[in-house]
Symmetry: C2
Subunit: 312 residues, 2 copies
């Protein structure tokens, strides 16, 4: 049985099984999780974290795999976290999928993990943050965080990356509308993928006019064309990611991002832990009774929560 002491050195050396275990520990609130994180913490801050988000069907996974391949060709170690809030399954399945589909060859310089914790409040964003830290401490140069949805979890995850790519495809006019302010806000670069399809020019015009409404940050998010399936445009995209990183560093943005990320992590963990402690203090029988009294309309939820917190 692993302890934080035995697991930590293997995580820092980047053993895939140790990385997987460490991420699971943090995901599930294992007894050794806090000590493990304390051991990782002084080693953090070296990795470049890139978010890849956008609507379903935009080709995010293929784009992510191509970015990973190009970074590997430069000799970099790459972590991929695939965040899917609609799936109940975390862990290795997605790696198997990607190997089977021939998109990623088994390679010790690439670590892939799916993040799909449902249940705990704020759990997915929190667990993804923890996983980024594990890979950062293990010395991965670049961490690609691919998110499937367009919900709050994804906005939270995206706002904690250094550079966030918003991936779109031509011909889906509604997608742009559905994207709204939230995703616009997090976009450091727009990727028009499947750019060999009709409608590319229209999509670019739409994006330009949306950009005009917004973006007081000083960084003007570029719009790039890619065809992820063939690798077209990937090298140019990597250049733009690097440009953004350099701009961030020069503009003091790295410190601002670190501050934002720290606040979000603190809020997530606090909600989880404060609520866990309150329930533990009350005992599960009392919690269940309070929930039943809400369901039976004897007590409203605000009153039930106040009762738990006022008389632990």
């Amino acid at each position: 049985m692993d302890t934080a002491e035995t697991l930590l050195p293997r995580v820092l050396e980047g053993h895939p099984r140790a990385l997987g275990r460490a991420i699971s520990w943090l995901e599930n609130g294992h007894a050794g999780a806090r000590q493990l994180m304390a051991g990782l913490w002084p080693r953090l801050g070296r990795a470049r974290v890139v978010g890849i988000t956008g609507p379903p069907g935009a080709g995010k996974s293929t784009l992510t795999d191509q970015l990973a391949r190009a970074l590997r060709a430069e000799g970099r170690r790459v972590g991929i976290l695939a965040v899917d809030p609609t799936s109940p399954f975390s862990g290795g399945a997605i790696l198997g999928d990607r190997i089977r589909m021939g998109r990623i060859a088994p390679d010790p310089g690439v670590f892939i993990r799916s993040m799909a914790t449902r249940g705990a409040l704020g759990g997915l964003a929190r667990a993804t943050q923890d996983a980024i830290d594990v890979l950062d401490a293990a010395g991965f140069d670049t961490i690609l965080v691919e998110t499937v949805g367009v919900g709050q979890d994804e906005v939270d995850v995206a706002s904690c990356t250094h550079t966030c790519l918003v991936v779109l495809v031509p011909g889906l006019g509604d997608e742009i509308q559905a994207m709204k302010a939230g995703l616009m806000e997090v976009a450091d670069c727009f990727v028009v993928n499947k750019a060999d399809r009709e409608g590319v020019d229209q999509l670019e015009r739409d994006l330009e006019s949306m950009k005009a409404l917004d973006m007081p940050s000083g960084w003007d998010p570029p719009i790039l064309r890619t065809v992820a399936a063939t690798g077209e445009g990937i090298a140019g995209l990597l250049d733009r990611i690097e440009e953004h990183r350099a701009w961030l560093a020069a503009a003091g943005g790295m410190a601002r991002k670190a501050q934002e990320r720290a606040r979000l992590r603190f809020e997530h963990l606090l909600a989880e832990e404060a609520s866990r402690r309150a329930k533990a203090a009350a005992g599960s029988a009392r919690v269940d009774a309070l929930i039943r009294s809400i369901a039976d309309h004897r007590l409203d939820p605000y009153a039930a929560v106040a009762e738990l917190l006022d008389r632990p």
Copy 2:
């Protein structure tokens, strides 16, 4: 200035401005929110709550508006809550959009509200639950809850409805894959919208094979075709929603749903309130200092949270 005493009777009579104010109070944690909810609570449990979810571009808003129109023709009062986690704006804008687009005529029997709180943890699902209660207490017969995304918030919202429609369109193969287990789990009825497009048969076959993998609940989710833009299939869809409600009632599912919903509401509110109290006790200067020490890598987030909770 309204107080809970002055607002409550007007909410119960269904005055649109009072409903809007009550929902905002609950959304923002107004000082009168708890008392208002306590006043609403004994009046709850009559409304039928229908969720409408699915990927962007599936035509959910148009379908929702058509359902509302058909229910109005039966003389029912209808509430519409449009949940969009990617938008920072709550409130009335969406009603304006819908009136401007001629989809909904101004009508005192329809109340529309967009729900888009970003920020507070679990805030969106919690605020939507509260809004459902307000409309239920105000005597709306049916509440249509339309969700834009496919993230955890939407799964939470969907799992608290009586009947959840998952809306899809032909020709978007990836959408189905992106939908995964989470949305499959919440589907009480599949709606194949824009069914005048090519690819309907393929989509239905895909759905049938996904259904075969799952669904031990005893209810076999039907697959219906609609063309929301013309109203085709809407009457049949309403029949199926009613069938599902009757099945739920007969199978004891209403009590199970009420229990699930009570648990989720309790968890959401507890996390919010426990964390609010912990921060209030510590003071914002101390909270800010802890967050800075995380950003500076002096303290890991677990240690920072433990420090706040251990020494308030």
